[in-house]
Assembly symmetry: C2
């Protein structure tokens, strides 16, 4: 198969498609008569190049060749995939499809990014409509995997199969919509929510900001990892989906929303939903589904903490309110960590991954820094410590859900130098690991080493002197 894709119509959607193909090693030809097209596509491509490779732990294939073409013919003539993303007007789309079928190879997949039209509407007047289908993406196209693949009754099954295979090879998820319908599937939900949002704003119930909070701190987190029905299956409990509908179905007839046309919950419809839900999730018990949901939520919410964003920002703020400010007491080792091992920290060996021990020790050394006055304010003033050498000795396995503590002792605190020895313990006192941290004080402006500011230097020296009087924890090991 020639790995060349033709992008007809740039902009945010066409540009996103282009990036998916290009960054997965395809050559891409673009045709867009907009004189601004190259700039606009360049902006989307820059976004995609920045973040798409970050999803993976391996390098993506070498980028293909990107060519801006002067004519549609030139763009499509050697393409295995032609993606149409022109404005949402049927007359424009018909003109473009007439040209595509005139010049594209007969075996090319022809996909439309339309969010509203049915494929049969696009195929009107074509000589070879069998290669045409809707392949509807979601913004940002370079990150979100969903593609609604919607054939019409006259789209060939071979073309659909080929499209699904190519989309999968691009890291996308082809959702085969078996029956064409205006707006496909996802946009019907988006429109239902948009419409409800307009009512809430119009009636002065909520602002855009409040609506967004109602989504991202609640059901948005659920829906990023399970959808609507698997989530509600859990709500139904062991009694199952039928029980959930019996319990909550009637609510739909209450005067909750402005829009009242609701399908009647016949026995037949309830059974259909329950059967589909069994086929989807019946291999897991409710308890297993709960744990899967909760593990996903923990992993995602912790991830949002790294960006200090959405639910992650809330957890960061809450953690700050929990963490007591302890008056430094250097007459004993510093308790520099006390925490639970999250589910997202374990690996194929069924225990905490070695790098997460390093993460615990890294957070422990942050705590030691705070104790000697090298805290967030000090870092904001332009100084910090950089690690130059870290070693971990793994003694026993730690597991998800386990509480662990770390005791840290300053081994050397002199000028720029800071050496700390850590011991990690299980709740029962088992020594899990030890670590030695060698750090140098730096200026964050020059990124070079320098002596600490006087107030930190003073506390460091006092702390080091006090800890030097304690037994050397490293002697126990040999």
């Amino acid at each position: 198969m020639t790995k060349t894709a033709a992008i007809i119509g740039g902009g945010v959607i066409g540009g996103g498609w282009l990036a998916r193909f290009l960054l997965n090693g395809w050559n891409v030809n673009v045709f867009d008569p907009d004189p601004e097209a190259e700039r606009k596509i360049g902006e989307v491509l820059a976004n995609a190049r920045r973040v798409l490779p970050m999803l993976y732990d391996v390098a993506l294939p070498a980028e293909g060749i990107l060519t801006f073409c002067d004519t549609l013919e030139e763009a499509v003539k050697s393409a295995a995939w032609v993606q149409e993303s022109v404005p949402e007007r049927l007359d424009i789309k018909h003109k473009v499809f007439a040209q595509i079928e005139a010049f594209a190879p007969h075996d090319a997949v022809i996909g439309s990014s339309t969010s509203g039209f049915k494929p049969s509407e696009l195929q009107v007047g074509m000589n070879r409509p069998d290669a045409v289908m809707v392949t509807h993406p979601f913004n940002p196209v370079y990150l979100l995997p969903l593609i609604e693949v919607v054939p019409s009754p006259i789209t060939s099954a071979d073309a659909v199969a080929k499209a699904k295979e190519i989309l999968t090879s691009l890291g996308m998820y082809p959702l085969h919509v078996r029956k064409e319908i205006d707006a496909h599937i996802a946009d019907r939900f988006l429109e239902a929510v948009w419409r409800e949002g307009l009512w809430l704003i119009k009636d002065g119930i909520a602002t855009t900001d409040e609506i967004d909070d109602a989504i991202r701190y609640g059901f948005g987190l659920r829906w990023a990892q399970m959808g609507l029905f698997e989530t509600y299956r859990i709500a139904g409990g062991e009694a199952g989906m039928k029980h959930f509908i019996d319990q909550f179905g009637p609510c739909l007839q209450w005067p909750w929303t402005k829009l009242m046309d609701v399908p009647e919950l016949t026995d037949e419809l309830v059974a259909m939903i329950a059967d589909q839900s069994d086929a989807q999730s019946g291999h897991l018990t409710i308890r297993e589904l709960e744990q899967k949901r909760d593990n996903n939520l923990v992993a995602m919410m912790r991830a949002l903490r790294s960006q200090d964003s959405a639910a992650g920002a809330l957890i960061n703020a809450h953690q700050s309110s929990i963490k007591q400010t302890v008056t430094p007491d250097f007459s004993k080792p510093i308790q520099s960590a006390e925490r639970m091992v999250p589910v997202s920290w374990t690996d194929y060996n069924g225990h905490m991954n070695e790098s997460r021990y390093a993460e615990v020790f890294s957070l422990a050394v942050d705590h030691v820094m705070v104790q000697i006055g090298a805290d967030a304010d000090y870092i904001a003033s332009g100084f910090s410590y950089f690690t130059v050498d870290l070693s971990c000795q793994y003694i026993a396995e730690a597991h998800a859900g386990q509480m662990i503590t770390v005791q840290s002792q300053i081994i050397l605190g002199e000028g720029k130098k800071l050496k700390v020895h850590h011991r990690m313990f299980a709740e029962d006192g088992t020594l899990l690991a030890t670590s030695d941290h060698f750090m140098l004080h730096v200026s964050l402006k020059t990124r070079r080493t320098c002596d600490p500011e006087p107030e930190v230097m003073e506390r460091l020296v006092a702390a080091a002197r006090a800890h030097a009087a304690l037994p050397d924890p490293r002697e126990k090991r040999s």
Copy 2:
């Protein structure tokens, strides 16, 4: 303030509330006449104890005392917060509220978990209705932060302020709903989506499974970190929210869904939405919003990879298809990593956190293991390597978005022992870090060391012999 909460009505919702209070150090009294209440609450509490602490890098406060009470009076008499989660029937709720106000302290916050009733409906017939409000949570209550705080016009402002402060101290997000309305805010969206889902299933367009995929691989990911309006603000581009509505507003009048009652997009309504969106997100340019969105998506999607779930499972599968199987060639060091540094790997020093270097080296050693035949199948057969000692020497800073490679050389491969030396390079050849890995071969059944199986032993010895003939990379450092 006495830190005692009373939970009236257990089950999944009451149990979730209970867990939030208890795990944040509150004493909790429960009243639920259901003989199964203790078992049911115990199940929810077990879930919460397993995962809520995993969100944090510090220990939560010591748990409070949990007491199952025989009477409602006993439960509420010393409570600073009373949370009602009894069945959704107004007559039952009225009886419960009469008892609560008879026995609870006059300054206690009284919250209802109702998803449908307005607070003014709950307050009917009460002598002291001013402490009563809706505090509506979302499942799982022990993880999701959203609480809709809905006062009626006669609820006291003091009670609302106190409720918001307490909820925040529990790590929750109080969304103050300023105007009471049936079903509050979030459930109105959920109902709109549920209703549309029923139509799609009834009409044979999609199954529950397909609908869930349409959500979790697309807009669900967007909504976990931004809501509806901030997401669409980006779609509007620099021209802003007004442009978005001008462009997409008319779609709502198309025959997309079964339900057609849509607010008229008057100039006034459009301006109201645009102004609210400016107030919400106007401090960020569209480019900044795009980057924030993309960073959040990368962090969350990588987090889902750790669970091999939802979009994370797709990326894992795609990565497997990208990663070429390379015939082992031990005549030179092994290129054991080539990848980009994700945004979620950087820390307050503005560079890749030390523990992520360890993560890269950990993945590098996995690659070395595959090269000597200790691959996923071998691990599934019950054998693996455990690291006993890891050291990292940090030489230069690595940053988000940077491409890095790792060269690995086997230093010792003998019996159970495997020592590997790694060098991490930037694209321009700069040496970023080195690392030494000392691993022992183990049985995953006994968790004890043992010799590798013959096929691995043979490849290990051959690889170690070949690498011993190469220059020792460690000599360059001293």
